[in-house]
Each structure stands twice: as structure tokens, then as C-alpha cells.
């Protein structure tokens, strides 16, 4: 008991020390003071890509709150050792709401959140929750399913190429859905998959894209943090599918569509919740229906009737009439993983570590 009290005392005295040190005592904010928000990006904001889309969420807060918000942004924080320090400092210097935007921010946030019980933590792509640590994530697979359908309509070879950053469920699942979307149009469609083990390695990604092209793929979808896949596909005369941002201008006119991420609603919801005092740690997982996943404008080369079908598909997925992982689903070896008439459970989707039938490639 003594120990606990002592620790608590030290914790608060330490926090005060840091707040004094950074020349700010806003942790004891009054009602007139602006809402203090800290945001940690995993990479610098570029023209396109993952962090860019998060910065749009931050912009949405700024637009809504104006001078009633003070946002501190720090970018290029990837390593867990560094992330823990940054989250601590943001919390200690009085930020009431703190966003982490990378899976690698997870363990550090789980360690820091309990030490600052009055601070709200929001973790994008997280899986673990605490009393004051909520998570939000996009249903990428809804976007890839539609994109896969678009690809199959336009593909001549029926072979789709997929490049992924890491073979984690958040990438493996969407890769499967890409092929399932394609198979909903052309049941014989297949998908070659390559993982780079990096989010940002344009050199390796270029090689991977060229490999896929030489294997006969004429639609390339790349889930990394660059536009390289779209670019190489366009230069090679193949169709492409963009991810995170609309990458049309990199695709030599060959980007069919992109499944873009719009986190504005997530950022606004959290900021409003904290401002009104109603914020709770939740696990939010949204897709086409909430507009977190949005399809970029379809390529004009796609015939109007096909575009209409794709828009209908978007609407049906948003309305829940079509589920990308509806049975019957078989894995690469032909084992039935989802029986006809049922759908894959949310837990299984978020832990997906197997390829569906028709995927070519191995998960290490």
C-alpha cells in the first residue's frame, strides 16, 4: 500500500516536473484554454500515403475547432523505444488526447496509458485496449474487394498482382479480399502476392512490380507507403490500384481506382468526445459505410455499365448486403475455412494468416 502511494506521488511530481520543464502547465487546463492534442506520425508527411491521410484527419480537427485546439505533431517516430518516450512527453506536457498512428506504437501506448489515466489515447491499427486507450482501424478489405472486381473486369489475363508491406493480417486479409472481389467477376482469377518486409522501399517494390508484370499480371495493387507499384504498372502498360491516397497522377492514366483512407471522422469523433467530456475507449472498425474507406474516381476507361456495377457493389457492401468474406471460402490447399451461408468472424478477419484459394505465393 505504501509502495503504491509512493509511486503515485512520484508519478505526479514527475509529471509536474516535466510540465514545468517544457514551460507549460496546461495539464491543469481550465475551460477557456484550448484542447491540447498530440499526434505521432510514423513517417514524415509526404504528398501521398499513410501519414498524409492521417494529416487530413488532423486538418479536419483544426478546421472544426479553429483556435480552440492546440495540436502538437511529431513525425518520423517508428521504433518502440523512441515512441514510448514521445508518448510520455506528450502526456506529461498536458495533451488531453493523443493519437498513435502505427502498429509499432501499440506496446509503448499500452505502457504509457495506465500512467496517465486522465489522458485519452487513440491508437490507429491497434489491437489492445486499456481503460483510456481506444483503437480505430479501417476495413481495407471492403476497398480491395471492390478494387478486385474492377481489376477482373479490365484484366485480360485474369492474373492480378499484389505487393504487400508485411505479411500481417491487416495486409493478408485485404490481399485475399482483392482476389475474392476479382473472383466474384471471373471465378478463374488468380493473384500473385509478394511481400517486401518494408513499408517504404521503392527499389525493392519496383523489382517486385516488374516480377509480377513478367509473370503475366496485368493489374497491380500495392499496399505499401509509396506510389511505386502504381507507377511501374503504368509504365509497363498494366492497370493499377492505388492505396491510402488517390495515386492517379502517378499511374500514366492506368490507375483503375484507389481505396483511399479518410480518418477525418475518427479524429473528429475523438476530439469532440474529449472536448465534451464524453470520450470513452472504444474499438472502432469502419469501412465504406462510414466513409473511412472511399473508392477514388474510377478510370474513364472502365465502361459506364461496369462503373455502375462497381458503385452498386460499394453500396451493397456498405449496406451489409454483400460481405467480402462470405462462404464458401477455401484456403490454398482446398480446405474449407468458411462454410457456405456464413461469413468470417471479425476476430478471424483481424487475425487472418492464411491465403484463399487462387492466391499464388507463400506466407512465411
Amino acid at each position: 500500500m505504501f509502495n503504491l502511494t509512493r509511486r503515485q506521488f512520484l508519478r505526479y511530481s514527475g509529471a509536474t516536473g516535466v510540465a514545468l520543464g517544457t514551460g507549460s502547465l496546461a495539464s491543469f487546463a481550465s475551460a477557456e484554454e484550448p484542447l491540447k492534442i498530440g499526434v505521432v506520425y510514423v513517417s514524415p508527411i509526404a504528398e501521398i500515403g499513410w501519414t498524409k491521410q492521417h494529416s487530413l484527419g488532423v486538418d479536419a480537427i483544426k478546421k472544426e475547432f479553429g483556435d480552440k485546439v492546440a495540436i502538437t505533431v511529431i513525425d518520423n517516430i517508428f521504433m518502440p523505444q523512441d515512441a514510448e518516450r514521445v508518448f510520455r512527453e506528450l502526456a506529461a506536457s498536458g495533451n488531453q488526447l493523443i493519437f498513435g498512428t502505427s502498429f509499432s506504437h501499440g506496446t509503448p501506448m499500452q505502457k504509457v496509458a495506465p500512467r496517465f489515466p486522465k489522458t485519452a489515447f487513440e491508437h490507429c491499427s491497434g489491437i489492445v485496449h486499456r481503460a483510456n486507450l481506444g483503437t480505430f482501424e479501417a476495413k481495407y478489405y471492403e476497398g480491395t474487394f471492390v478494387a478486385g472486381a474492377a481489376g477482373a473486369h479490365m484484366s485480360k489475363s485474369g492474373k492480378i498482382g499484389f505487393i504487400g508491406g508485411f505479411p500481417i493480417p491487416d495486409i493478408v486479409g485485404p490481399a485475399n479480399a482483392l482476389l475474392l472481389g476479382a473472383q466474384s467477376v471471373n471465378p478463374e482469377a488468380t493473384c500473385n502476392a509478394i511481400f517486401l518486409n518494408s513499408w517504404f522501399d521503392p527499389g525493392k517494390e519496383k523489382e517486385a512490380a516488374n516480377t509480377l508484370l513478367s509473370q503475366g499480371c496485368d493489374v497491380i495493387c500495392s499496399m505499401t507507403d509509396t506510389a511505386t507499384g502504381v507507377q511501374v504498372a503504368g509504365e509497363g502498360g498494366a492497370w493499377s490500384i492505388g492505396y491510402a491516397s488517390d495515386m492517379a497522377k502517378f499511374g500514366s492514366g492506368k490507375q483503375l481506382t484507389a481505396f483511399t483512407l479518410d480518418w477525418s471522422s475518427e479524429y473528429l469523433r475523438a476530439a469532440k468526445g474529449v472536448a465534451e467530456g464524453s470520450w470513452k475507449a472504444e474499438a472502432r472498425w469502419d469501412g465504406l459505410a462510414a466513409g473511412v474507406v472511399k473508392m477514388a474516381p474510377y478510370n474513364e476507361a472502365i465502361p459506364a455499365d461496369v462503373q455502375a456495377k462497381l458503385k452498386q457493389l460499394e453500396a451493397d457492401i456498405a449496406a451489409g448486403k454483400i460481405h467480402p468474406y462470405a462462404g464458401e471460402l477455401k484456403d490454398q490447399d482446398g480446405n474449407v475455412k468458411v462454410a457456405a451461408g456464413s461469413v468470417l468472424s471479425d476476430t478471424d478477419i483481424r487475425g487472418m494468416n492464411w491465403f484463399v484459394r487462387g492466391m499464388i505465393g507463400k506466407l512465411s
Partner: protein, 354 residues
Amino acid sequence: MRLRIEQRQEPSAQMRIAAPVIATALTFLAGSVLFAALGYDPLATLHAFFVAPINSINGLSEWLLKASPLILIACGLAVGFRANIWNIGAEGQLIIGAIAACGVGLFYPNPESPLLIPLMFLAGAGAGMAWAAIPAFLRARMNTNEILVTLMLTYIATLLLSFLVHGPWRDPAGFNYPQTALLPAAAMFEPFDYSYRLNPSIFITAVAVVIMWLFTDRSFLGYKMSVSGAAPLAARYAGFRESSAVWTGLLAGGAAAGIAGMAEVAGPLGQLSPQISPGYGFAAIIVAFIGRLNAFGIVLGGLLMSLLFLGGETVQMTLGLPAALTRIFQGILLFFLLAADFFIYYRLRLPEHA
């Protein structure tokens, strides 16, 4: 008027002390111009860079936590560098050390055993040494270039780590994400205080600094290694065997890096994931040279490098300086530091008028 560069007869003792001071002054000057040109108050920026990060207990704790692995690895590497043994693969040795230590922590039958930390320490040091023994063997036996071998082994270590966390060691309760389970409490260094992250692994670094100093300045083997670095032919003539310098240099670096990996995994990390080091193994090479391959210089170099890193974050958080600008500033400081050292061995002279 032309200036001439002239080698000094003896390294200048005054310049040895003056060089870092001059470099710091020039850095502050160049930095101030840079910050002012971009519309930031130079004094406030320098304050945020060098004072704000460490004027709280938490700041000091973070400073030492970040500096500790850099100093530890640089000490080990400097032993080899003094003998011209170029181990640039400390990053890989760190990773292997972290893997071995984490393996012990995760799979030792009794997760509450007080022996866990010592065993992990031995595993980390041993694995780092074993990884460094490969280039040592190849260099001593087949005269293979250790620069290439140590660097290439870093990639192999990274891939081995990736294989383990994606495959056999993946946390069964972790939604298939590539990371191991968290280490049990007995396998982690207990922080001095739970409000901060600094832990007793800092003592390992302190001991390593003292050992490094004793070895390089007080031991015969250390002297032999310095001679073979400075004058290989003289060393051979005196009967110093090159292979013993190769083995000592590489194993010292491997052990230090392996221990640093163990301290990271048992300290701030608590688990393995595909990337576990923010480039400590490479940054330590710079630290070793900023510290002029001397134990106490390395301590200062490590503290400087980590302060630059923390300062870069602070200016971003408090003043909104872009991360790229802070990296330019860090580059300016390193440039002036290494450039000023030039004048220890050389001087500029005005040519005599004919």
C-alpha cells in the same frame, strides 16, 4: 594569398582541447543563422535543442537510457578500431544478442527465476561474440575483409529476427502480428522508479567504460593493439600477432553489442518485433570516432549524440521545426566536430612572401 596545409610535427595538445569548443561555437553560429533564416528564434531553438530535453528528471532518465547502448557499443567497437579492425556490423551483433537474450527470457522453464537476468546477459554477450567470431575467423584464417563480412552479417541477423517474429516465436495471443510475447517481469530490468524508464542496465555500461579504459590505457594487450593499428609493420617486427588483435577487436565489439541488445530487450522493449534497434550499432561507430576511440571521449560522444536526438524531438514538439531541419543541424555539428579534429594534426600556414 594562398593558404598551405602543413602536417604538424606532433599532434597539437592545445587543439585537442580547443577543437570541440571551436566546433561547438561554429555549430551554434551556423545553426543560429539557419534557424533565423527560416524564421525561428535562434536562442529559443538552441534552448529547446540542448536544455529543454534534459531539465527534468524524466529528461535525464531518457537521456541516459538513449546514450547507454551507444556508449556501450562504441566502447566495444573502439577496441577494434584502435587496431584498424573495422567491425561495422555491431547492429547485427546487437540483434543477435537481443534474440538470444529474449529466447532465454521467453523459454527458460521457470519464468520467475532470479537467474533470468544473468542468464540473458550471458546469452546476449555470447551470441554477440559468436556472431562477431564469424568475421574474426574468416579474417584471421583467410584474410577476408571484415568490413564486408560484418556488414553483410547484419542483414542476415535482421532476416533471422524477421523469420523468428513472423514464424516460430510469434506471440500466440497477438493476432498473428509479428512480435513475440512480452517477457516475464523477472526477465526485465526493474526501473529505478516506475515513473521513469531508466534501469540498472546503465551500470553495465559504466562498468564497460571502465574496462575499456583499463584495457586500452593500462594493459599490455591494449598497447599491442594500438601499435598494430598505428604501425602494422612495427607490430609484426615486435612479434605481435595480427590474429590476436583481430580476435580481440571483433569479440569485444560483438560482446558489447550483444549486451546492448540484451539491455534493450530487457529494458525499454520487453519483446522482439521485426525492428528492434534505431540504428544504435551504426550510430555507435560515429560515437566511437567523436570520442576519438577513448573511453571518456566515448561517454561524451554518446551523451552528445543522444542529446541531439532528444533535442530534435523537442524542437519538433515545442517549436514545430520540421524533422529534416533538425537532422541538418545534427549534421552540421558532426561536420564541425570531425573537421575541427583535422587541426589537431595539421595546420594552415601563410606562405612566406618571396
